[in-house]
Symmetry: C2
Subunit: 267 residues, 2 copies
């Protein structure tokens, strides 16, 4: 407090003003401030954060408090620390681990990015499930339907609902602007960065439409993966359901999810 009186150290341009309720713990406010900057795309993946000591000086708080905030952000995979180098906004690796959970890979067993065909893109009525997940107040959303194709057949049908406010720019995008990797496209075109995913898997009988598009028999089984994707603050920004032939399904659950309350049961 005494040091503030000198008025010498203003908050540098690259360190945002502290956000969040003053009743929250200091380290939490730092967390929220930084998560906000990342979620808003003002700090982009790969960007270097200011040094811990600089942040502490800028906010006039103890270095240990800054450290605790950064620890928490690192735990949540929003940032990455590299000893001796610095701290950086994390770049989620959703792309390269592609298709990890399919039995069916390339001929050589390697992962690859399947062909992607946009079947529909526009404003559409939004069903209750995505509407609730996305927190929409009106039953309208940007709808993107894609076929994922490999080995000469449609292997996957994706129906993707997006909040219109964040994704309006997608409607004006040309098909080749989008490309096969959607999350990088979200970032490029709409400034939305996905940091977190929740999924629910089920095995169902194929609907007649799905069966036709996937070239299955009516009554064959399909897997269904419902996904909610979230930004750095935890806000839901995408809801999708993917369906494909159940026989090609494979999935890994990492230890992290097995223990927390949110996980699953034991039998």
């Amino acid at each position: 407090m005494s040091r503030r009186a000198s008025g010498v150290e203003a908050v540098p341009i690259d360190i945002p003003a502290l956000m969040g309720s003053p009743y929250l713990p200091l380290y939490r406010r730092v967390c929220e401030t930084f998560a906000r900057m990342i979620a808003d795309g003002r700090w982009r993946p790969g960007d270097a954060l200011p040094a811990e000591t600089d942040i502490a000086r800028a906010y006039n708080i103890a270095p240990g408090t800054v450290r605790r905030a950064l620890d928490e952000l690192a735990d949540n995979r929003l940032i990455e620390r590299r000893q001796g180098i610095g701290t950086f906004v994390h770049r989620p690796n959703f792309d390269n681990a592609m298709l990890r959970f399919f039995r069916f890979r390339g001929v050589d067993g390697a992962a690859f990015v399947p062909e992607s065909r946009v079947v529909a893109l526009g404003i559409a009525a939004c069903p209750p499930a995505p509407m609730e997940a996305l927190g929409l107040t009106e039953p309208q959303a940007v709808l993107l339907v894609r076929h994922r194709i490999w080995d000469g057949a449609v292997r996957l049908i994706e129906r993707i609902y997006l909040p219109p406010r964040r994704f309006a720019a997608l409607l004006d995008a040309k098909p080749d602007e989008i490309g096969p990797l959607l999350y990088p496209a979200y970032e490029r075109i709409c400034g939305q960065v996905v940091f977190q995913i929740e999924e629910e898997i089920a095995i169902l009988e194929a609907s007649p439409e799905d069966a036709a598009e996937l070239q299955l028999q009516s009554g064959d089984l399909v897997f269904s993966i419902e996904r909610v994707a979230r930004d750095a603050t935890g806000a839901a920004i995408e809801w999708r359901v993917s369906r494909g032939d159940a026989r090609r399904f494979r999935y890994q659950v990492s230890p992290a999810s097995a223990v927390p309350g949110g996980g699953h049961g034991t039998i």
Copy 2:
């Protein structure tokens, strides 16, 4: 160091001597020491840990260092902290969240514990997958085969491989000693506590044997869940595969697992 000279404060009986390599960070050694005590069953779920200040005094280290160690153990769900009360060994809730991932629940939609029938229990040849996962040096394991039954039919077949050293006591157990909940039985009979689970899911065509036991047609689809269960130190103590009718399958993946490297890919 100066304080040690007085020789007044010996390490109390309930605080174990510090373990782990002296080259490790102090907080890591505290972590490993406590994890060891929990894994060995010397500290059991529900037990109260000593107060942070007492631990710090006993090891002659700063309270902040102890705090960091406990933070890490709490992150890994080995302990639970309750403000104003104390810190306790965590009791994994593998039981009550039972059957979370099945479409099929009780008539009223509530979770329940299905009937359990031990089909086989003894020493058996151990296939390569469980042998490797469990780190066995000889191809022998305790094998437990169970049928899980509800609504008047066998819904699930479980083949469970256990390391003989830890689970020898299970061979002498009477059937009703084991009961429907296996992990509590491990703790009761063998002193083994499960803290972590990894699973891999696939959809397969039923083998003739599985089809017969599950009353499916040959060629019908089954889900297969391969699980590795680990103790507090991360050592694998159980390998199992569960199979059942694919049509009844449902699974949730919590956000925690979606982000870390171990998780899965995106399509």
